[in-house]
Symmetry: C2
Amino acid sequence: MRTMTIRDIARKCKVGVSTVSRAMNNHPDINPETKEMILRVIEESGYIPNKSARNLKITESDTVAILVKGIGNPFFSGMIDIIQKKAQQHSYACILQPVEPHENELDKALEMVQEKKLKGIIFLGGNFRHHQEKLKKLRVPFVVSTAGRAEDFGVPMAASVSVDDFAESYKLVDYLCRQGHKRIAMLTSADTDLSVGKLRFEGYLKALRDHGIQPDENLIFKLRGDSDHFSITSGYELTKRALTQHCDFTALFAVADTLAVGACRALHEAGIRVGRDCAVAGYDGLELGQFYCPSITTIRQPVEEIAKETADILFDMILDGKEPESRTFQGELVVRESTEPAE
Amino acid sequence: MRTMTIRDIARKCKVGVSTVSRAMNNHPDINPETKEMILRVIEESGYIPNKSARNLKITESDTVAILVKGIGNPFFSGMIDIIQKKAQQHSYACILQPVEPHENELDKALEMVQEKKLKGIIFLGGNFRHHQEKLKKLRVPFVVSTAGRAEDFGVPMAASVSVDDFAESYKLVDYLCRQGHKRIAMLTSADTDLSVGKLRFEGYLKALRDHGIQPDENLIFKLRGDSDHFSITSGYELTKRALTQHCDFTALFAVADTLAVGACRALHEAGIRVGRDCAVAGYDGLELGQFYCPSITTIRQPVEEIAKETADILFDMILDGKEPESRTFQGELVVRESTEPAE
DNA sequence: GTTTTTGTTGGAACCGTTTTCGGTAACGTT
DNA sequence: AACGTTACCGAAAACGGTTCCAACAAAAAC
């Protein structure tokens, strides 16, 4: 059975195809009655206009896209809603496009720009360090959120919004040191170059050194590359492993709250009281850590503000032709039970 | 600057457009050398074929789609990977399409079928009860996973995979009753008709009655419609509210693990020891509950099997033209600390 | 040496829209 | 009565691919 086209509708309405098109895209040059009649017929016959054909012909389209590498990451989920709402306020369409781990976010972006005629892009996650050429071909404004700094990209129309992971991580570990901890274990990601984990790790090192503590290789635990990245389970297992080589740390810093939760459970099972016997801290400020027992000390990233700013910067570029303007947000050290047990 | 087309490549290679097309779609009728040469030129010039144009012309395309209403739901995240892997094994492309809460998953599906020439669809979440007409227009096989039973749809090509929420919920509450609990509070969703919560709620009622317990209105707490659905925070707040009207329940059953986590924290803050003073149980079997302190009793849904079966059923229909065959899985009651404190 | 086959190619039609570019009718103005 | 406006409409040309078909050369079969 052939699928219905605009011509079928035109025939059914005894009008030209252009009129039907006008009716659908509320074009001014059409008699309101004809329009209504056409729309009714369309409704009745369940005609669905072919988007490919439309996108092929169209030259511009007031839409932006959010490309998310690692949907499922609760940190991103929080941002997405906010960004979409912003887009709506500007009456822009906003399409959410997950990027699979093995896909390249830039190739995807390039495709979508010409397919969907995007006016702008927001990247959540992903890596952009070694892709200048592709970034340059992307001729629309875009902003990279919490995945690197725009300065590193070396291309115009690039803005970034991020939290200074190095400084915040430093802040947290500094706090732990001031609490008197000398042996602070670290749970971080495997590949140091690409990951968000890198800066957080460096902040950790710096803080230790500034407190006259020599970082101890034996206290640094890296995720195996294959385990799925920042899951609770991997935090749990990594900590279990850490505990087998009794290296007597008194505090543990995980680069993500999820990992910290897993760590807490592992410690708990080993009979170590989190907060009293061993401090635990995470990073991100997820709901999760706030409601855990004990609640988990963390660096809260201002998700809402980050999301808002990300969207604002993008639309400033799109609508007002403003220059890309990057921002770095402050995180907030949120001290909770896992490092300061109630009395 | 005009965007590059297949004709530009053809010109640059001094061949016809059809030859370029053949090179890209590894069509057999082409000289391997020409092909290689063309591909090299394409690579060098950074040409990106226009997907809309392609989709417009193409008549079929070995792809399936997963339409997820409520991406971010960790239960779905777990399934997605597995399904995608299955698709890959059949060398089918698999596109992941989030559906916004306000969008209708069926309209989206209809669009995509004609736009992307889908061979099949997997729905995660969503509601299909009152949409027979649209389901009928969807002329490809599809399977609905954990969002209702195929029998209710009344259309061919529809399969469903689910867990018998009613029975499992019954199983859990029955267990609580056998533990001696008489006053069991329930945390459930607002709208009883559409939601997964409904069957779980009914299982709760039935179990109580079978134990000679008259369900108490005052122990049933429903989420406000506006709060985002099954978040930890809403579980927390709902429980807080429950506690203000001291209705002295000795157990609490939440329709989702996330809610249960929130509940645990609220109880904890009220000085009530979860497990000892009050039992808490959830539903889903998320990582979260397993690692919480105390770990949370739940009904574990066999995510992996469900996902595998969902994919298998779909591909059986697509590849072998099999009849839609629905399945209902057993859940598993996982008793943990929140209902049975260690000694 | 002619015919058939095989392998490779290019031309052109087509997919279903939007949009340009007139065209027509109705109306008000001189 | 002739004209300029205005409001609405339809035919046809794109958009950028794929694919059918005819063409041609070289190789194989007779």
